[in-house]
Amino acid sequence: MSRYLNFIAEKNQVKYLIITIAFIIFSFFWIYPLLWVLSASFKTDFEIWGGLGLIPDRLVWENFERAWFGANMGRYFFNTLIITVVSVIIVVVTTGMFGYVIGRYSFPGKKILIGILISTIFIPQGYTIIPVFDLLNNLNISKNLIGLTLATAGHTPVIYILLFAGYFSRVPVELEEAAKMDGAGFVRTFISIMLPLTKPVVATVSILQVLHAWNDFLLPVVITLGNPDIRTLSVGVYAFKGEYFVDWSGMAAASVITILPIIILFLFMQKYFVEGVQGAVKG
């Protein structure tokens, strides 16, 4: 990650300065809607529609109180947290195992399995949502978090498997043979030798899945149609808009509750976000 095509020469100070300033102005406009909602969450309704300024007169923390308790965002926050954490664990374990076998072994039926997987990449989510809804109903898990969590994990993007498979296939064979000599079986080799080596992929896949699970909308909105108790944050804010559409500041606070955790996570773990995103075109 260190090839640069420098067409801005260091000595050309004027050009450098113009480009930097242009980007600063551009960045400000780019980020303005997000800053605006952050500032609105601390303002009164009156102040929100008063001007373009971003600094509130005083911090109205009551907005968050109304959103968290009144609009039930507190509950939705924990629903989303549970769905996200559990689906990350399921996804990492299942795609890790799958990727390991695909990346290192050949066995009858492997090609068919890969073929089926690849063919599902471009299936739009809208296409499968109705049978998923019906399936969860029939299994009697549509009214609690289990169904939503499983369905969230089940929509596993194939990219996770490819990331794992690619990484595992590059691990030297000697390591495995050494483990075998020590008498380690298939499962132990995987858990104690292989898995620890793939920490970067585990991190990347986890981050991508967090992003997916936390921000997903179509699946939770359909599954929770008749069950407000298991709503996620995104669905909660959407419902909030329908129910209390005059409480702008409360809605802004609810929005901030939803987006802030992921933005903070992104700022600290940017490297893995970038690797995950770029993995899609590199492969």
């Binding site: 090839r3 980007f23 780019w30 809607p33 739009p124 949502i129 998923v132 499962v187 808009k241 929005s255």
Partner: protein
């Protein structure tokens, strides 16, 4: 070499099968099975909420292709795709080219800022944007009026003529960070010495880009276009939260149409899962067809 019999091969690989099982079950339940079932459902006259379902053959399909709302939504989805993908590709490339400069000290900061909307929940963006573009003192109109760009507020999301371009603009804003990251990855593959050599040979400015760098990143461009094109057909959350397909269906894309016929009952109509599945299958096949076409085009271009 003598090949082992199949049964022995399978027995030897028993751990492999065990390892692929959990993921296969999940994918089977939530991806493969639903695909099959949606074909079956599409042949039923079924509301989805009762057990009564009548097999009616291809009647749902017949009804869909004769519904003008269906075709409006169908075409609108492609307008959305053709309107957003080129903008994202070009804009993302330009930004990536600038941010790929080592000399630009603030490049990591700009990259973070441009990527920020990507990690923000899409439903929240849709809702926040209904504020931002509100004709009643929304920030977008406030800004336009205070700079005298318009004299009267524009009802961005309430006017059938402006609603689709506005939603498309928000879509580009939301996802441009991803396109930029793709392009940055592509630019990273341009070998430094090729670049340096071309510079020494006197290739400057646009010639350097057109003759040296573009050919190298072109294979990436094709993958990026493919990924972006499919992405631009999956816009349900943004449109549902911003406009729900309105006003007067003027921003109703295919996914909203499917959702509306399947689940929305405000207008007093019965939900019709069977019919919605037929529309969905039709749509899925159309998307698959385009993907395959693009894939073929991709292979041909790569061979050249």
């Amino acid at each position: 070499m003598h090949k082992k019999p199949l049964s022995k091969q399978i027995y030897d690989a028993r751990w492999c099968y065990l390892f692929v099982l959990p993921c296969s079950i999940l994918t089977g339940m939530f991806v493969i099975y639903p695909i099959g079932m949606s074909w079956y459902f599409s042949l039923l006259d079924w509301s989805g909420f009762t057990k009564e379902a009548k097999f009616i053959g291809l009647k749902n399909y017949y009804e869909a292709v004769n519904d003008e709302f269906f075709w409006d939504a169908f075409i609108r989805s492609f307008i959305f795709m053709f309107g957003t993908v080129p903008v994202k590709i070009v804009l993302g490339f330009i930004i990536a080219v600038f941010l790929n400069n080592q000399v630009l000290k603030l490049a990591p900061f700009f990259r973070t800022v441009i990527f920020m909307p990507v990690v923000t929940a899409i439903a929240i963006i849709g809702i926040v944007m209904t504020f931002v573009f509100s004709p009643f003192n929304g920030p977008a109109n406030k800004f336009l009026m205070s700079t005298n760009l318009t004299s009267a507020p524009i009802d961005f999301l309430g006017n059938p003529d402006t609603v689709l371009p506005t939603v498309m603009g928000v879509y580009v804003w939301k996802w441009l960070g991803i396109t930029m990251m793709y392009w940055l990855a592509a630019l990273q593959t341009v070998p430094q010495d090729v670049y340096d050599a071309a510079k020494i040979d006197g290739a400057e400015g646009y010639r350097l880009w057109i003759h040296i760098i573009l050919p190298i990143v072109l294979p990436f461009a094709i993958v990026i276009i493919l990924v972006e094109a499919v992405g631009a057909l999956n816009v349900f959350p943004l449109i549902e939260t911003m406009t729900a397909g309105g006003p007067f269906f003027s921003s109703e894309v295919m996914e909203i149409y499917i959702f509306r016929t399947a689940f929305v009952t405000d207008s007093g109509t019965m939900p019709r899962l069977g019919y919605a599945c037929a529309a969905g299958v039709f749509w899925g096949v159309a998307v698959l067809f385009i993907t395959v076409l693009q894939g073929l085009w991709m292979r041909r271009t790569r061979r050249i």
